[in-house]
């Protein structure tokens, strides 16, 4: 997976610190744009879900981004049934801080796929706007600290 550095994020020491992200979950706020475009830019709150093979996003947010589908996929939902869902590709901008290096925070941009999911409650009534699944997490070493509710993602070398 390609990793892009944005917003003047500082690279400390040998550069390894720049590949270590610390986020506070399990719901994180991210910004989304169409793949490699600066706009439109939409903020979304995503729930980290290690039980999901793939990531998902409310269909109204996908509509706001004006995305066209990559392809349909078969997805098994919580009721155990298999449904067709459409997959979309976008850029995900993660706000991050740098562990123990004294470097300022910044934003990392990743390419990410999500299936669209119709959500009937309005955005301000939702627990989250979507899920971050193992398709995204598979690119990282993932460590969760239950006491602080924070997790660390390290980019694999």
């Amino acid at each position: 997976m390609k990793l892009y550095y944005h917003d003047g994020y500082a690279v400390a020491g040998d550069g390894s610190a720049a590949k270590r992200l610390i986020l506070h979950g399990p719901i994180i706020k991210v910004e989304l744009t169409p793949w490699h475009l600066p706009a439109p830019r939409v903020t979304a709150r995503l729930l980290l879900d290690t039980g999901s093979d793939i990531s998902a996003l409310a269909q109204d947010i996908i509509g706001s981004l004006g995305l066209s589908s990559l392809r349909p996929v078969q997805a098994r939902l919580a009721d155990g049934r298999v449904y067709q869902r459409f997959l979309y590709r976008m850029s995900m901008h993660l706000p991050v801080s740098c562990a123990g290096q004294g470097a300022p925070g910044g934003t990392f941009m990743f390419s990410a796929n999500s299936v669209g999911q119709e959500v009937h409650s309005p955005p301000d009534m939702r627990v989250s706007d979507g899920l971050i699944g193992r398709d995204f997490l598979s690119h990282f070493q993932f460590r969760y600290d239950g006491e602080t509710g924070s997790f660390r993602l390290e980019v694999r070398q």
């Binding site: 039980g51 589908s69 392809r71 078969q74 590709r89």
Partner: protein, 82 residues
């Protein structure tokens, strides 16, 4: 913009072509449009970029890996069932 119905129809054409593609380019990412492979790539990112370059963001092409189609669990509870 290509409709979801058109994207779904393209996927159906890909499914019909899949047995042959599994012999000729297994494991490759392809840009697929109008029932044929437009280009092959080693990863999804490269295939997606090539599709945009060839047809634009809304051209109706699909980007898909040449492999047996799988079913994804969406939501942790879904992984409890087969």
């Amino acid at each position: 913009m290509a409709t979801l119905e058109e994207i779904g129809a393209e996927m159906e054409r890909f499914r019909k072509a899949l047995p042959d593609l599994l012999r000729t380019c297994p494991g490759k990412w392809v840009v697929f449009k109008a029932g044929r492979v437009v280009s092959t790539h080693d990863d999804e990112e490269a295939a997606y970029a090539a599709g945009i370059e060839a047809f634009g963001r809304d051209g109706g092409q699909i980007v898909v890996c040449v492999e047996e189609e799988r079913i994804y669990a969406l939501g942790g509870i879904a992984s409890l069932t087969k």
